[in-house]
Amino acid sequence: MAGFPFVMQSALFAASTNVDAIYVPEERVFRNTTPHWLKIMRIGLQRNGAANPKRTVTLDNPGTSSPRPQWAIRFGHTEVTNGFVPFAATTWRPNVDEPAAFVEFAQPVYLAPNDRLDVKFKYLATLDANLDSGILAALVVPVDRPDAIRVPALFGWEGTSRGGNSGLFSEDVPVGTLYNEFEEVMHVERIIGRLGLLGGDPSAGAGNVERAYPAAAQILVDLALQDGAKITRDPTPLAALFDLARQSWLTNFVLPSKGYIQANVSGNLTDSAQAPKTYYPYLGMLGYRTIG
């Protein structure tokens, strides 16, 4: 049965100086109160201007620092994210000019009657007082009871911030981050990569987590699987690896149980003009595992 679409939307997560406070939508917001199974089509974070009802670029901050939001998601009792993960590492833009950061599940994800989509949200840094507010929204449709349940897995990593003229660096993503901890195999459908640009002159794009184009060519990413099979042949500029518009690419491979993606981020940031700016590298992956 294909029923009418339904949207679950939270209240506004207002701009706040309360760093690390965990925001939780009201219990009823993401609960399936219908007698039907619901299929989650997408979950996203939008930003809305409370004073002027227009949407703004979700991960931007017109000031000198980004709030670097993070979220944790569970379906029912099953974790989707391994704790809090950065938005910037676990979302992408579905269209070239789509400012919202959201996750769209190409594989069906289901909520049983009375089950909840449990989403928590926090900021890692303070927000400017005049910043817009964030809204979480999920698009769902009623469906027949599925035969098998595919549980999404959304993992992400935020690297160390570095100045625009900070020189050579190399950083490994911890093994337990892009890691299939489950007994089931994990089908990976998307790898996400993004460079956050924070600090410096706002008019030059500082605070914009989305458009750090110059440094994206100076920062290299090297990916491999747990058994050493290379995904990238050698360290590759981030800008060459990830579509700068959509910040991700579609994949179709399987991580075995206890398998993981090894990742190293390295580079040589040498642009003195960018010295006041700081860069955060982000890597993430979206996959699913089948249970039941």
Partner: protein
């Protein structure tokens, strides 16, 4: 040659294009309909053709330099009434902006400023049909276009709007059987205007209505929303400050069975994102309607706010 019911990938099919235009004159208020030249939108071959997509373009043009407003959405006030072989494809006139999802980047370089010269600007919507439409010899598209600025707009339009329908498809090779019933598209739409913070406009009985007895297999819901100035020229849009594609009012939408789209009023962009579209298949029963109300939440000076919604689907009929 074995007869089959569809043009498969292994068969060559000659492409074909039908194109017809209607010119909507300058002037104030809702203009008389300008009809498309139906001879140009007709299958004049002696064999059937199949149409796979439609492209509707609006060219706004003035004879005076610098009259064309590049900060308004070209075609935002244009409405289209389309038929095929005498059967309605639209439930009356439907706003141009909600005929199809907005392409990526459309609200950037293309949507409001496909500026050809200082006297012309341009916009386009591309409609991919859920199933190819087969036209027998002699059958074609017909219809009309008009400019229907919102009631808040007091400026007369100083531009002429040329609305072009292009039907793109292919000639059906020999030996391909024709379908009996086809999936004919249908758009049903509504336009809501708010001019005061105390008013929450709602759709009426003619809006978002399935006029057929048969259910409509809905494929997409498409929206457009913006602030609008009384001084808007040829298009319903905004002169001066403000945005178009990023406008984010609150929406309440109720399905025919009484279910709501969301438990609380929803932010438009949370639901429809940048493509301005929800793509999901469901059925709208014959004779039923969807009701909508919107709260634009904030007035800015003398501006108003509008919301256009279209439900696009197909029904099976013999053409």
């Amino acid at each position: 040659m074995a007869q089959t019911r569809s043009i498969g990938a292994n068969l060559l099919a000659t492409p074909t294009v039908l194109r017809g235009s209607a010119v909507v004159a300058t002037g104030a208020g809702i203009t008389p309909p300008a009809t498309f030249d139906t001879t140009k939108l007709q299958n004049t071959l002696r064999v059937p053709i199949e149409i796979t997509e439609l492209i509707i373009t609006v060219l706004e043009r003035s004879s005076t330099e610098a009259v064309v407003k590049t900060n308004e959405n070209a075609g935002a006030a244009i409405e289209v009434d389309l038929r095929i072989g005498g059967k309605h494809l639209t439930n009356g006139f439907v706003p141009f902006q909600v005929l199809a999802p907005w392409n990526a980047g459309e609200d950037g370089a293309w949507a409001f400023a496909g500026v050809l010269t200082s006297t012309a600007t341009f916009n386009q919507r591309r409609i991919v049909l859920p199933e190819p439409l087969r036209l027998r010899p002699g059958v074609g598209f017909s219809g009309a276009a008009r400019r229907a600025p919102l009631s808040i707009v007091t400026s007369p339009s100083n531009v002429e709007s040329t609305v072009t329908v292009t039907a793109i498809g292919r000639v059906v090779p020999d030996g391909i059987l024709g379908p009996t019933a086809q999936a004919l598209p249908l758009w049903t739409a509504a336009t809501l205007l708010a001019t005061s913070t105390n008013v929450v406009p709602k759709t009426d009985e003619r809006d978002l209505f399935n006029p057929l007895q048969a259910p409509l297999d809905v494929a997409r819901i498409i929206v457009a929303s913006s602030e609008v100035s009384p001084l808007a020229q040829y298009a319903t849009g905004l002169t001066g400050a403000g945005g178009r594609a990023d406008y984010d009012p609150l929406l309440k939408l109720r399905w025919p069975n009484g279910d709501l789209l969301g438990a609380d009023p929803l932010r438009l962009q949370s639901v429809f994102i940048r493509e301005h579209t929800i793509a999901h298949k469901f059925q709208l029963p014959g004779g039923s309607r969807v009701t909508a109300a919107f709260d634009f939440t904030n007035a800015i000076g003398a501006y108003g706010s509008y919301l256009q919604i279209a439900i696009f689907g197909t029904r099976r009929e013999v053409l």
